[in-house]
Each structure stands twice: as structure tokens, then as C-alpha cells.
């Protein structure tokens, strides 16, 4: 079974450091006393809490629901009590705390009722909705909600399904050990994906520095009733990038600005496939994952970790050592420094890489760019990093965008090879965020302008309407006057009626009339309330109540900062 492999342009060969952690078996991390669940663990909208402080929750219970089209739910990874819903340290490049649900575990680890899904009889949209409600998101690093990606689109058919076991980042081995030990379940998940995507060709790409994983996956694939081709690809960072893996296996490039489904393929990480299998065949939401803890620790290894476990717990488990200079989440090429080890393991946490001065000597100071274009030779996105750097540094973001800044995948190859040691990727991140901020400002300004224009339009319209009304009234009055005159002329010829009958002159009678009118108005009030919410099904009624309580909460929240500000002053 040999397949003609293609190559992507660029790439680098950093020292692999895989052997440190890949040899040991998967070790289940113990249940921590405290679990922290950030509401933003995936790309897209943050999940919305559906529990309150003091609630008791069970393992696998949804504690925050997906919000909007691109989102994923969050689940309690063990049973316990919700102790707080407040900002906590999270693993994010900004280093800023984010809203989290805190749970104190009760040690019983009591599951919520759960059952396998009969995915073959379910409508695809229903199954996708289920996966989203089970919190599934890509575990390869991007944490894009899986349900969204499992939609083949209008054609209802995505011929090629690529399962990415590249794991090209140095040090990380969680996908490797997952494939070694749980190949069958990965492929069970692949079967579900294949069902949803209508795929006929399934390719599993694994870097050839993982022979055990390749063998295990091939053995598991042989037992399947549908063909799965396990392909060993040359070890070259970043072959595990979705676009690079696609090109290696199929020779196709995803057109710039398009999705991979546009060229009839979709890529999923092996860990995601495993999570899909757990969700569909066991009814388990995404509440745990494998995490490599490696680098400057006594026992580098892979743990099966409950989402929400504080990172410090894992580092202690692996054996903390003196001389630790920092911890990275992810690998050395694309990872980010963890600002606070109380931050929890999230869905994106594939690796905790403990740094020391020996393993990660401080980077030398940057020299000016000498335009040697080693970065361009290494760039897998085939960009001209030296030009992007020049534009980003000069603040010429328009030109940077023209030179395809947003095709940069931030793999770090350019920075890695730069002989001047320029942190190039940093400049690109800076330029991107500046452009985003600018666009946001522009959108806000556009919105404000539109609002202003609409207000002006409305005022003009009202003025005009008023004028028209007045004109109409005046005309009516004139017509009336004319009529009256005619009538008066007529009346003049007739005898005058009795004046008493014209109006009730008695003041008491007048009062009674007013009271009666008031009573009538009062009686009418219930009718004035909107009628379309009267006979609603209970579900909708509940939803409305929820919305009302949320609005009340928001109002309360909106008041809070003001109060605190007042306190401060």
C-alpha cells in the first residue's frame, strides 16, 4: 500500500524530543478537588452558563450551553458543587483572566445518565447538534467546534476525509500514544465522521517518526469494514498543519480564503476522532483528554486528564524539578507561556512543556533583517516573511495584507531559521491584531454613522409626517368650516333646538362620565398586553422566562461596576 506523496514548500527540522514522553503508558490523572471550566475553550462564541452557584452537578452534565452557530457546550468533568462563576486565570496568550465556572468536586465522580447514540438513524443535523451539545471541538490545537466542521455543505458529500496524526511539534506525544493504545476507538470515531461527511476515501497521515503509532493504526484499520489508508509521511515541521497534511497526502492546496470542503476534503485530528467515538458510542461529552507533560520534569509522560484540572496538579504528578523557568502550553514552535499554573487544562491543552535554562536557553537579541530570505525558504504558506516583517514594523498594515499576512499560519518556521533571531511571528500577530482592531473601530464607526443617518431620516420623516398631518387637519378644518357655514346657513332657515339637550351641564354628571371612561380604560389594559405570548408551549414559555431572568441578571451586572466604581471613588 504505497501512495505517491507530495511535498509542501518550506518547513524546518527542529530537534524532535519525542522519546522523552512517548514510551510511558497513559496514566490517569487523579480527580482534583477543584475544577475550573473556562467558558471560552473553543473558537467562536463563548458558552453561556446554565448553572448557578450552589447547584450540584454530575459528571458529564452540561454546565454551559453553546451559543450561536459556532460554539460548543462545556460540561462538568466530575460531580460536585458549583462554587463560583467568575473570572479566573486561563491559558490564553493575553494572560488575562476569563469567565469560568468553578466546581468543588465531591469525590463520588457520579455520572449523569448517558447512553450511546444510534448515529446511523439520526438525521445529520441532529447528530451535529448533539456533538455540539456534547462540547466537541478540534483537539489538534485550533479547537474549532467539530459539529460545524462535520457539515459537508450543500453537496452533502465530502469525498476525502483526512485524519491528522502528524503531530509535528517537538516534544508533544499525546496523539502518538493515543494512536498506539487506542487506535480502534479512533477509527470508530472516524466511522462516524465518514457517515456524516459521506466520504469514500479516508487517509490517516502520520509522521514517520512514530512507527508504533503507524503499526497500531494499520492493524486497527485492517479490521474495519471500510477502507482506511494509513500513510507514513516524512517528518518535517509543520506537516501536521491541516493544509500541509492535505498537500502531502493529496497534492492539493486549499485555495487562499476558501475552506477545505470547497475542494472536497476535510481534516480532523486523531484526538478529535477519539472524542467523537466516546461521544457517540458511549454518550460521553468531551470532559477529558490526553495531555503530554514533558520537558524539565522527572517523569515526562502522557496523562488522561479531566478538563478543568489545574495545570500545577499535572506538573506535580510528573515530578517538578528545581530550575524550572516557565511552562508552555503546546510545543516550542507554536505554544504559549502559561501565565499562572492555577489555570486549568482546557480542550486545547495538548502539552505542558516545562522549561529550564538548559532546555530553553534565553533567545539571543535580535539583529536587523539582512533579507537573506531563509524565512521565505522555510515558510510553508509560501509567503515572503521578510517583506511582511518590513511592513509590519513600519506600520504599513495595508501592504502587509496585500502580501497575504492573513495566510500566515504562525507556525514559527520563519522565526526558527532567522539568523538575525527576529521574533517574526510576533510582528505578524501584532499586525493582525492591529488590523482587526482597526476593522472593529471601522465597523463601530460605520454603525454609529448608520444610526445617526437613520435617526436623521426618522426625524425628517416625522417632521414631514407631522407637517402632512397638520396640513390634512387644516384642510379638514377648512372643509368643516365650509360645511358649518353651509349648515349654519341652512340652520338659519330652521327653528333653533332646545339648549339643555346639547350637553350635560350638571358637574356631578360630568364626574360620573370621567369615572366611567377611566374604568373602561382600566378594563382595556389587559387586552393591551401583547397577545402573542398567551398560549405558548411550555418550552417556549420557559425560554422566555430564561431570557427574562438573564436580562434581569445583565441589568444587575450592568449596575454592579457602577457601584464598585462609586465605592472606589
Amino acid at each position: 500500500m504505497t501512495r505517491e506523496l507530495h511535498t509542501f514548500k518550506g518547513g524546518v527540522h527542529p530537534p524532535e524530543h519525542k522519546a522523552e514522553s512517548s514510551g510511558r503508558p497513559i496514566h490517569a490523572a487523579p480527580l482534583p478537588r477543584k475544577l475550573v471550566f473556562p467558558l471560552r475553550q473553543h473558537i467562536g462564541n463563548a458558552a453561556k452558563p446554565i448553572v448557578e452557584v450552589g447547584d450540584h452537578v454530575k459528571k458529564g452534565q452540561m454546565i454551559a450551553a453553546a451559543e450561536g452557530a459556532i460554539s460548543a457546550a462545556v460540561h462538568a468533568s466530575s460531580s460536585g458543587t458549583v462554587t463560583a462563576i467568575e473570572p479566573q486565570p486561563v491559558p490564553h496568550v493575553s494572560g488575562l483572566p476569563d469567565l469560568c465556572i468553578m466546581i468543588e468536586t465531591d469525590g463520588r465522580d457520579e455520572w449523569i445518565d448517558h447512553a450511546p447514540l444510534d448515529y446511523r438513524t439520526m438525521a445529520p443535523a441532529e447528530l451535529r447538534g448533539k456533538l455540539r451539545d456534547m462540547g466537541l471541538a478540534g483537539l489538534g490545537g485550533a479547537v474549532f467546534p467539530t459539529g460545524v466542521k462535520l457539515d459537508p455543505g450543500a453537496t452533502q458529500h465530502c469525498p476525502t476525509l483526512i485524519i491528522n496524526g502528524g503531530e509535528c511539534e517537538p516534544w508533544i506525544t499525546c496523539d502518538d500514544v493515543l494512536m498506539r493504545h487506542r487506535a480502534d476507538e479512533i477509527l470508530q470515531g472516524v466511522a462516524v465522521m465518514r457517515h456524516l461527511m459521506g466520504s469514500t476515501e479516508i487517509l490517516v497521515g502520520i509522521e514517520d517518526n512514530k512507527p508504533e503509532a503507524i503499526a497500531a493504526m494499520r492493524a486497527a484499520a485492517a479490521a474495519l469494514d471500510f477502507p482506511v489508508e494509513v500513510v507514513a509521511v516524512p517528518t518535517l515541521y509543520p506537516s501536521g498543519g491541516a493544509k500541509q497534511m492535505t498537500e502531502i497526502l493529496t497534492g492539493k492546496q486549499v485555495p487562499s480564503g476558501k475552506r477545505s470542503t470547497d475542494i472536497g476534503l476535510q481534516v480532523f485530528n486523531v484526538g478529535t476522532a477519539y472524542a467523537v467515538a466516546r461521544a457517540v458510542h458511549h454518550g460521553e461529552p468531551l470532559i477529558s483528554r490526553l495531555v503530554t507533560v514533558t520537558g524539565h520534569v522527572l517523569r515526562p509522560q502522557n496523562f488522561e486528564v479531566l478538563i478543568g484540572t489545574p495545570m500545577q496538579t499535572l506538573i506535580s504528578l510528573a515530578g517538578e524539578r528545581d530550575g524550572t523557568t516557565g511552562v508552555l502550553m503546546g510545543g516550542p514552535m507554536m505554544g504559549m507561556p502559561v501565565p499562572d499554573l492555577e489555570a486549568p487544562v482546557v480542550k486545547a491543552t495538548n502539552c505542558l512543556l516545562v522549561q529550564s535554562r538548559e532546555l530553553f536557553p534565553p533567545l539571543p537579541k535580535a539583529l536587523p533583517c539582512i533579507r537573506c530570505t531563509r524565512c521565505a525558504d522555510a515558510c510553508p504558506a509560501e509567503l515572503q516573511p521578510q517583506e511582511l516583517f518590513r511592513f509590519a514594523k513600519a506600520g504599513d498594515f495595508g501592504r502587509a495584507q496585500e502580501y497575504h499576512l492573513f495566510d500566515c499560519i504562525e507556525c514559527g518556521c520563519c522565526s526558527y531559521v532567522c539568523p538575525s533571531h527576529i521574533p517574526l511571528v510576533d510582528f505578524y500577530r501584532y499586525a493582525k491584531s492591529e488590523i482587526w482592531a482597526h476593522e472593529k473601530d471601522k465597523r463601530a464607526a460605520d454603525l454609529a454613522r448608520e444610526r445617526h443617518e437613520f435617526r436623521q431620516f426618522r426625524q425628517d420623516r416625522e417632521k414631514k409626517e407631522k407637517a402632512e398631518k397638520l396640513a390634512a387637519k387644516a384642510q379638514a378644518a377648512r372643509a368643516q368650516a365650509a360645511q358649518d357655514q353651509v349648515r349654519r346657513a341652512e340652520l338659519a332657515t330652521e327653528p333653533a333646538p332646545a339648549p339643555a339637550a346639547a350637553a350635560p351641564a350638571d358637574p356631578d354628571a360630568k364626574k360620573a362620565l370621567i369615572a366611567a371612561a377611566l374604568a373602561r380604560a382600566q378594563a382595556k389594559k389587559p387586552d393591551a398586553a401583547p397577545k402573542n405570548v398567551d398560549d405558548l408551549p411550555p418550552a417556549q414559555r420557559r425560554q422566555i422566562d430564561e431570557i427574562e431572568t438573564r436580562r434581569a441578571k445583565i441589568r444587575e451586572l450592568a449596575r454592579q461596576p457602577l457601584e464598585s466604581e462609586e465605592k472606589n471613588t
Binding site: L363, P368, C372, E402, P419, R429
Partner: protein, 345 residues
């Protein structure tokens, strides 16, 4: 501190050190075939360049250490020294080096910022300002009876008490110069090339020097410090232009191999046109850059006012680099061209 957290070992210092190392075969050949004078020239240029670099860094408020150890000033000094006549007076070398480092490099913003190759700027200033002193080329030892020692060479360079006859005995017009003056005297190429200064395919001695430069260049290519694009197209530009002219009129235009095996062409193709700072960066741009420089070299040699055109050709192409780069941007992953703007999706 952001990702990535690891680096490849290659540094600017390393790259510059390899460039210097790749020049060593040529320097050795130079000493062997033309005498030790070049060592004095190299030393003067090096000291001047390092001194000027340090002074300029200090004046501009930059830290000395990282920029002095990057060795870029020494590379400039060596490239300039190897372009100058090896028995040129010391003040000529100092003037050229100062101009290269102070004006062409630092006044343009220092390492990585200069538009023009500093060594070539230094050379151009000297050939325009001091054309007579720029003819003090050491003659190939093969053709002279008097051989200068290192001390005697120093004396010549520093204007010491050396009899004029000795100086005349050890200096000689270069093959290119001889061809030029010969043609100006209405001789045909064949008639001129009977002179002893003309060797097998280049100039006597000079052809081996050219080969030594090419050897060093191939070393840089093997080490992936330079790519093949510029040297190959530069040489092709020279060879094709010379070949076309020679084919058109062999009596008036020198043979292509002779033009190709001039040391200045090999030095220019492998060491100067490949300067990353002042050269084109895109693959297609590099091809255009090299071809253009090779073509212009021949044009200037043939119809220009100076015996050699490598320096001016490279400076002219330096001038065109921003334009070349802008119009030769390669397609990115996903096939879109540079001009195509992203759809707002």
C-alpha cells in the same frame, strides 16, 4: 515571550564568517600568483572598516558588541580590498573603506538597511575620483622578474622609499584594461590578445584567481548560504552578452570565456551580487537581478568609460531591486496572486 521558543543555530555572524572563509582560497591564490601585497591591502581595509563601524555605531547610539561580532564590516572590507589594485596607496584603501562603511552603510541605516552594496559604492567612488591610482595592479609573478616581499609591498602601499622603477616593474595593466586600450588603438581582438598578459581563457594569473573566487562561491552554494539563482544568471548574462557581441564581430569584441574568467566577474557573481541586503529577494527577482547585472557589466565594459563594469552594473541593479521585488512576488500557498485581495468572508 512569544513562540517559537527554539531557534536554529545559524546566526548572522556564522553566515558572515562563512563568506569570509569562502574568500580564503582566492586570497591564497592571490598571494601565490601576485605576491603578498594583497595581505597589506586587506589588513588596512579591515582595520579601517572595524574602526569606522565602531565609531558610527557609537555615534548612532547602538551597542558595539552585537554589531561588531556580526563581521559584516569585515566582509565589506574584504570585498572592497579584493576589488582594488593590490598595490594601491593606503589612503585610497582607507578612503574607499570609510566611504563604504560610513556613507553607504551607516548613513543609510546600518546593517540590513543600505540600498547599495557598500563595497561597490566604495569602489565606484574611488574609480571615479582616483582613476590613476586605481591602476596599480600587481603584475602576475609569472610575467615579472622582480618579486616584492611583504615588507616591500607595504612600503609601496604606504608610499615609502621605493624606487619608481621597482613599482613600474611590479605593476601592469589588467587584461581588461589592455584589451580596452588595444581596441582603442584600433587593433583587433586577436592582435591585442597576443600580449603575454592574456592567458589560456582569461588573463595570465587572473584566470586562476577567478577560478578561486568561483570555488569559494561554490562552497557558499553548497552550504546553502547563497542560492544558485544570482551567480548562475549573472554568469549567464556576461557569457551570453559577450558571446553575442563576439559572434557579431570577433575583431571588436573579446571572446566570452575571456570576459567570464575575469576575477571581478566571479567575485561579483558569487560574493557581491549575492549580498542579500541589496539584492532581490524573490526567486524570479533574483534571476532578473543576476541577468541584468551580467548584461550591464558587459555593456559598461564595452561602451562605458571604465575598464570594468561589475561595480556599476551591480549598483544599477541595486537601484532596481524594490521594483523587481514588487513585480515578482511569487504566489502564496493556495495559489492566489499578490494583487488578489481576500474576499471578506
Amino acid at each position: 515571550m512569544p513562540s517559537p521558543f527554539i531557534l536554529d543555530r545559524t546566526s548572522v555572524t556564522q553566515i558572515m564568517a562563512w563568506v569570509l572563509a569562502a574568500l580564503v582560497p582566492a586570497i591564497a591564490t592571490y598571494v601565490w600568483l601576485f605576491g603578498p601585497g594583497i595581505l597589506v591591502t586587506l589588513s588596512i581595509a579591515t582595520l579601517t572598516a572595524v574602526g569606522a563601524e565602531a565609531a558610527m555605531l557609537k555615534a548612532r547610539g547602538y551597542p558595539l558588541r552585537p554589531f561588531l561580532v556580526d563581521l559584516s564590516a569585515i566582509v565589506t572590507a574584504w570585498l572592497l580590498a579584493l576589488s582594488l589594485p593590490s598595490l594601491a596607496p593606503w589612503w585610497l584603501i582607507v578612503t574607499g573603506t570609510l566611504f563604504a562603511i560610513v556613507v553607504a552603510k551607516h548613513l543609510y541605516g546600518g546593517l540590513g538597511q543600505n540600498i547599495f552594496n557598500p563595497a561597490m559604492v566604495g569602489y565606484a567612488v574611488l574609480i571615479v575620483s582616483f582613476p590613476v591610482q586605481m591602476t596599480h595592479w600587481a603584475a602576475p609573478l609569472e610575467l615579472t622578474s622582480t618579486h616584492l616581499t611583504l615588507a616591500q609591498s607595504s612600503a609601496v602601499i604606504f608610499g615609502g622609499d621605493v624606487p619608481m622603477a621597482t613599482v613600474d616593474a611590479v605593476t601592469m595593466a589588467t587584461p581588461l584594461d589592455s584589451l580596452r586600450t588595444g581596441l582603442l588603438r584600433q587593433l583587433t581582438v586577436d592582435e591585442v590578445m597576443t600580449e603575454p598578459i592574456f592567458g589560456r581563457f582569461g588573463g595570465t594569473g587572473f584566470e586562476w584567481l577567478a577560478a578561486a573566487f568561483a570555488l569559494g562561491g561554490l562552497l557558499l552554494w553548497a552550504l546553502r548560504i547563497i542560492s544558485w539563482h544570482v551567480p548562475l544568471t549573472f554568469l549567464a548574462g556576461v557569457w551570453l552578452t559577450a558571446g553575442f557581441l563576439h559572434f557579431y564581430d570577433p575583431g571588436r569584441f573579446g571572446p566570452p570565456w575571456f570576459h567570464l574568467f575575469a576575477p571581478s566577474v566571479m567575485l561579483g557573481a558569487f560574493f557581491i551580487a549575492t549580498d542579500p541586503v541589496t539584492g532581490a529577494t524573490t526567486p524570479r527577482g533574483k534571476l532578473i537581478f543576476g541577468l541584468g547585472a551580467g548584461f550591464l557589466t558587459l555593456v559598461i565594459r564595452t561602451w562605458g568609460g571604465f575598464p570594468d563594469g561589475v561595480a556599476f552594473a551591480i549598483l544599477l541593479m541595486n537601484l532596481a531591486v524594490p521594483l523587481i521585488d514588487q513585480y515578482t512576488q511569487p504566489p502564496v500557498y493556495g495559489g492566489s496572486t499578490r494583487k488578489a485581495k481576500e474576499p471578506a468572508a
